[in-house]
Each structure stands twice: as structure tokens, then as C-alpha cells.
């Protein structure tokens, strides 16, 4: 019965950090969703590290399924992609798409092997 608590607490910290970082996007004055890109790549690296280093199921639920799952986001990523699409900024849309998937997957592999 403790598993939902571990997942929920981990995700809360992850979501709070994600929100704090996303709030910085407006201040950056960069016309590209670089904050979500960073969150998703960094979260994938972290999950790789946790997966390789942590062998306790409960702690992995807290930090992996909970924290990394709550920190990274697939919904916002695709929402931002669709916004770029509807704004006809197709170059940025494609770049965001490619950078997220390539460096996200590479990030996890790097994390596993650190």
C-alpha cells in the first residue's frame, strides 16, 4: 500500500521543480521551448542513472516512476510541438522534435553507463 505514496511524493517534487524551471522560460527571451527540452533530456539522464545504480524497488519507485516520471512530461512537449506547427514555424517544430527524441534517448543511455 505504500507504493502509491512513493510514486505520488516523488512526482510532486518532480512537478514542482518542472514548474519552477518552466517559469524561467519567459525570462530567457529565447523563442524556443528550451526549458522543456532541458527538463526531458535531464530527466532521461537521471532515470538512466537511477535505473543502473538503485536496486531497491521502493526507492526506484520514488525516484524513477515518481520523481523522473513527474519531472519529465510528454503532454507539454507535444502541446508545444503542435503550437509551433499551427504557428507555421515548421523549422523550429522539426528541430524541437528531433532534439528531444535523439538527445532524450541518448541521455538515458549515457545515464545508464555513467
Amino acid at each position: 500500500m505504500i507504493n502509491p505514496l512513493l510514486v505520488g511524493f516523488g512526482a510532486t517534487i518532480g512537478a514542482f521543480l518542472r514548474n519552477e524551471l518552466t517559469l524561467q522560460q519567459a525570462k530567457l527571451k529565447i523563442d524556443f521551448p528550451i526549458v522543456t527540452l532541458f527538463i526531458n533530456i535531464f530527466g532521461a539522464i537521471l532515470l538512466g542513472i537511477f535505473t543502473a545504480q538503485i536496486h531497491n524497488g521502493a526507492i526506484l519507485l520514488l525516484l524513477g516512476t515518481g520523481f523522473c516520471g513527474g519531472f519529465t512530461t510528454f503532454g507539454t512537449f507535444n502541446m508545444e510541438l503542435s503550437q509551433l506547427w499551427f504557428q507555421h514555424r515548421l523549422g523550429r517544430c522539426f528541430l524541437y522534435f528531433v532534439l528531444t527524441y535523439i538527445f532524450g534517448i541518448l541521455g538515458f543511455i549515457v545515464g545508464i553507463h555513467i
Binding site: 514548474n19 510528454f74 499551427f86
Partner: protein, 140 residues
Amino acid sequence: MRKRAEVFLFLFIGAFIGSNLRYLESLIFKPSNGFPLGTLVANLSGALVLPFLIHYLQDRFNLSSRVILTLSTGVLGSYTTFSTFTADTYRLFNTGQWLLLFIYLTLTIVGGFALAILGNYWAATQAFNDYAKKSREERS
């Protein structure tokens, strides 16, 4: 919304619900061949609903910034996940399940984008239907 403690409380509620919905789906949708169906279901449904929430439900029900923070950043942000997707991809690659890897990548990458586009159209269609209904009622 300035107070961090308040933001934390709303995200606590939202993230608790969202992450556990995803966790529940990963326990329910668990095919014996190891296909990450739970993550896929969570990510695709979340990708569809988020634009609908932001572009339709927010206006339709006059949702406050607190409710939107809880539902979008909290629930849907934690319900969907990118890191688990990369972990699933690596696992299928490592175990040499090429067909499952191909299906998973295609459905996630193409499906996520297509459903987010569809969510925008769904929101626009719904808003238009509401408007048309309202005009009809005003005329009659």
C-alpha cells in the same frame, strides 16, 4: 499564485493523482511480451487531452489559474512522462525486440504529435459547436 507554498500544495494534489493514474495503468496494461502499453496509453491520452484542456475547457468553465496549474502542470504533466519512454525504448532495444521497438517508437512519436494536433481541432470544433448552439438558442 505568488506564494510557493500554495503552488506546491496544488501541484502536490495534481501530481499525486496524475502519477498514480500512470502507475495504475502500468500495472493494468502489462502484456506478457513486455510491450510498455501502460506508458503508451498514458502518454497518448495525455497528449490528446492537454490541448483540449488549455484551448477549450479553460474558457468553457472559466477555470482559474489555480485549477489550470493543478490540472495541466500537476495532473497531466505527471500523468505523461518522457523519461519512462526513453527507458522503455532502451529496454526493447537491449532485449532485441525489434518489432515491438518499432511499433512503440512509431506509436509514441507519430501518435503523440498527431493526437496533440487532434486535441487542438477537437477544442476548436467544440468551441464552434457551443457558439453555433448559443446563436440558435438566441434566435429561437
